[in-house]
């Protein structure tokens, strides 16, 4: 048994001038650096999207408030949604995938390093284009600048008649460009996983994170592209006189909805599946047991990927489809809950009989399990289409999807940060600040999003810049706003942790968590070449086999 890192004696190295460092980072094709670029980029947009959310919450803190005008409010919710989905969630998950996948499969880099860099910069351009709209566009009735048509850009609101100026075009182009970047990254992930695995790593020996990113990459290829196609059609309508969504010429607003949601629903699975991947790596390590039911976890994920392509019109239950269509989508939507539920059971099964360590990554993982369970159940509620006829387009559905995205995805991301930050930087994040971050965020999250469900049940629709005082919504909105600010505070604690720990954090060795996958076999941070010699694996947990030569996993697989 030998370590895979080559030890280089400490040398006297001159500090590189910052211009050279900047040049290195801008021209890098190294998957680890690109991964970090994606993550830092996403964190910046998280702040921007968060500010937009706070503006929304301040405006809604009581009825008939006038903190911002309706025009500004409409831009805020459009930009908040668009930013969070396309310029926070997608890039940050691609960033983690980029960083971890080659390391976990024993590879030197991604299959196409230059395509990797190109995809990142395309995505970055998209974000820039979207925010440039604040300066460059003008929206409904010359009302402003950034797009204000909602993040779904429903037709015919995006037709020239209702969106003069260029705000809609910034939305369209920004997402078209970053969409191509996403497709490039997905192709890269696919090729990397299928072609660059180290010897011994058969498909059924890959870490679950690798499997789930493979499924995610496959989904990106067929989920993002319908949106790209629809956006090309929208551009043809707006600039070449096309009639795809032009009601006057017989065009159909419903067609846009179908195309959008054929993208939109699989997209949310694209976002959650990498988070399932994080949970499937972190929960076993902090329970000190292997994942319960590895083959079923893979099968369930593939099942989710397929079934999720058949549920999209549950976002359209109110548009007047006939009863057979509504019944069909009710059935498929409920069905997709089965493999998803199975995964929750498997994670609990992993914890069962273990020796759970309540470090910060595990705290966030437990939070994820609790919240994702609730989010899944409110999803089942809305799958019952008559119930959805009341709940759709109200604050209930806003609460549901924030439960998934914040309570699920963001919690899983926080777990991933605390778990892999040591690997990426060589320093541990502060456990103390981590616990403050966790509890503050948990309290703020529940204050906001638990209460928000009630608002929906009380009839408050979404995307309204103000509301009537007699409806009974004031107190609840006030509580929700307080929760939002508590979450903001928690995020500041997190940001502080990231920065302070970079300079003052305890040094992490190769393997601070006593984990079992290949990335923990190299130094923290890894050398540029990842592995000095190509590893060979004989089981799903190569480091477990090394640490427990008397009882290796390879005996049981």
């Amino acid at each position: 048994m030998s370590s895979d890192a080559i030890t280089i004696p400490a040398l006297e190295v001159q500090e590189k001038p910052w211009v050279d460092l900047l040049h290195e980072w801008v021209t890098t094709v190294d998957h680890k650096r690109l991964g970090i670029l994606y993550i830092v980029y996403a964190l910046v947009f998280l702040m921007l999207g968060g500010v937009e959310a706070l503006i929304i919450r301040i405006q809604l803190v009581h009825s008939h408030n006038d903190f911002v005008s309706p025009e500004v409010f409409n831009r805020m919710f459009t930009m908040h949604g668009t930013t969070m989905i396309f310029f926070v969630a997608m890039p940050i998950l691609f960033g983690f995938a980029n960083y971890l996948v080659p390391l976990m499969i024993g590879a030197r880099d991604m299959a196409f390093p230059r395509l990797n860099a190109f995809s990142f910069w395309l995505s970055a351009l998209g974000g820039f284009l979207l925010y440039f709209s604040f300066l460059g566009g003008s929206g409904l009735y010359g009302a402003g600048s950034a797009p204000d048509v909602g993040w779904w850009s429903y037709a015919p609101l995006t037709a020239h008649a209702f969106s003069p100026g260029h705000s809609s075009d910034y939305w369209t182009l920004a997402l078209l460009v970053s969409g191509f970047g996403s497709i490039g990254t997905a192709i890269n992930i696919l090729a990397t996983i299928l072609c660059l695995r180290c010897p011994g790593m058969k498909l059924n020996r890959m870490p679950l994170l690798v499997w789930l990113n493979l499924v995610m990459a496959g989904m990106v290829l067929i989920a993002i592209t319908p949106l790209s196609a629809a956006q090309i059609m929208l551009l043809i309508d707006r600039y070449l006189g096309g009639h795809f969504f032009d009601a006057q010429a017989g065009g159909s607003a419903v067609l846009w909805m179908h195309f959008f949601w054929i993208f939109g629903h699989p997209e949310v699975y694209v976002l959650i599946i990498p988070c399932f991947a994080f949970m499937s790596e972190i929960i076993p390590v902090f329970s000190r047991k292997p994942i319960f039911g590895y083959p079923v976890m893979v099968a369930a994920t593939v099942c989710i990927a397929f079934v999720s392509m058949s549920v999209w019109a549950h976002h359209m239950f109110t548009i007047g489809m006939n009863s057979y269509a509504n019944s069909f989508f009710t059935l498929t939507t409920m069905a997709v809950g089965v493999p998803t539920g199975i995964k929750i059971f498997n994670w609990i099964g992993t914890m069962w009989g273990g020796r759970i360590q309540f470090k910060t990554p595990m705290l966030f993982s437990i939070g994820f399990l609790f919240q994702f369970l609730i989010a899944g159940l409110t999803g089942i509620m809305m799958a019952a289409s008559p119930f959805d006829w009341q709940l759709s387009l109200s604050y209930f559905v806003v609460a549901h999807f924030h439960y998934v995205i914040v309570g699920g995805i963001l919690f899983a991301l926080f777990a991933a940060f605390y778990y892999w930050y040591p690997k990426m930087t060589g320093r541990m994040l502060s456990e103390r600040l981590g616990k403050w971050h966790f509890w503050l965020f948990l309290i703020g999250f529940h204050l906001t999003f638990d209460v928000m469900h009630i608002l929906g049940l009380l009839g408050m629709p979404r995307r309204i810049y103000t509301y009537e005082p007699g409806r009974g919504w004031d107190t609840l909105n006030f509580v929700i706003t307080i929760g939002a600010f508590i979450q903001a505070l928690a995020i500041l604690v997190f940001a502080a942790n990231l920065v302070i720990s970079y300079f003052k954090g305890a040094r992490a060795g190769n393997d601070p968590w006593d984990a079992w996958t290949l990335e923990w076999s190299v130094s923290s941070p890894p050398p540029a070449y990842n592995f000095a010699t190509v590893p060979t694996v004989a089981s799903r947990r190569p480091l477990w086999d090394l640490k427990h030569p008397e009882d290796p996993d390879s005996r049981y697989e």
Partner: protein, 198 residues
């Protein structure tokens, strides 16, 4: 886990892992298929729904000759690759150039058809739903043919300069996959637009 010091390439090939270029092209083809599917769905959805203007039956003429050109170019590119695999560069280059000519002919045919539709029948992308969906779908395909031709011409130039040999076979096969995809899309588009649509 042991630390073998075998070289990367040997290990990969010995374990029958697919070449990354082909996997990547397969991924791209899957993505493009999804895009084309959406345009085909829009075309089919709007069949017969135009409120005004020329209808497909009135103005469309199936471009049989140019279709045969494009589909034959799949054959020629296939055999070009086969010859390259056997190291017969001369045949490879010849068939490659024939492929380019056939593809160029197809594009010429599309241009000719569009000219006729626009100037004789007054059908443009903004005329009616048929115009919008027809020009978008056929145009998207023609764009992909053009992109493919650009790549084929690049390879032809490199081939004429003697830079394309057996070592570049994988790249040629990857490009050939793309070209077959473009042809397959045309089979679908042709069926939907000129057969079903009329």
């Amino acid at each position: 886990m042991s630390t073998a010091t075998t070289s990367f390439a040997n290990t990969a090939a010995a374990r029958h892992l697919p070449p990354r270029g082909k996997v990547a092209m397969a991924g791209l083809i899957i993505a493009e298929t999804a895009i084309f599917t959406i345009f085909v769905v829009a075309y089919l959805f709007y069949l017969g729904k135009s409120l005004t203007g020329p209808s497909p039956r009135e103005v469309l003429e199936a471009p049989i000759f140019y279709t045969i050109c494009l589909l034959s170019s799949s054959l020629t590119i296939h055999f070009a690759a086969k010859f390259l695999a056997r190291g017969i560069r001369f045949a490879f280059l010849g068939l490659w150039l024939v492929t380019i000519v056939l593809g160029g002919l197809f594009l010429y045919g599309t241009g000719q058809e569009w000219h006729r539709l626009i100037y004789e029948h007054g059908l443009t992308i903004s005329t009616n739903l048929f115009g919008t969906t027809y020009y978008s779908l056929v145009g998207l395909h023609a764009f992909h043919v053009t992109a493919g031709l650009v790549m084929l011409v690049t390879v032809a130039v490199l081939g004429v300069c003697g830079r394309v040999g057996v070592k570049q076979l994988v790249h040629i096969e990857v490009l050939s996959m793309y070209w077959h995809f473009v042809d397959a899309v045309w089979v679908v588009v042709f069926t939907v637009v000129y057969v079903l649509g009329r």
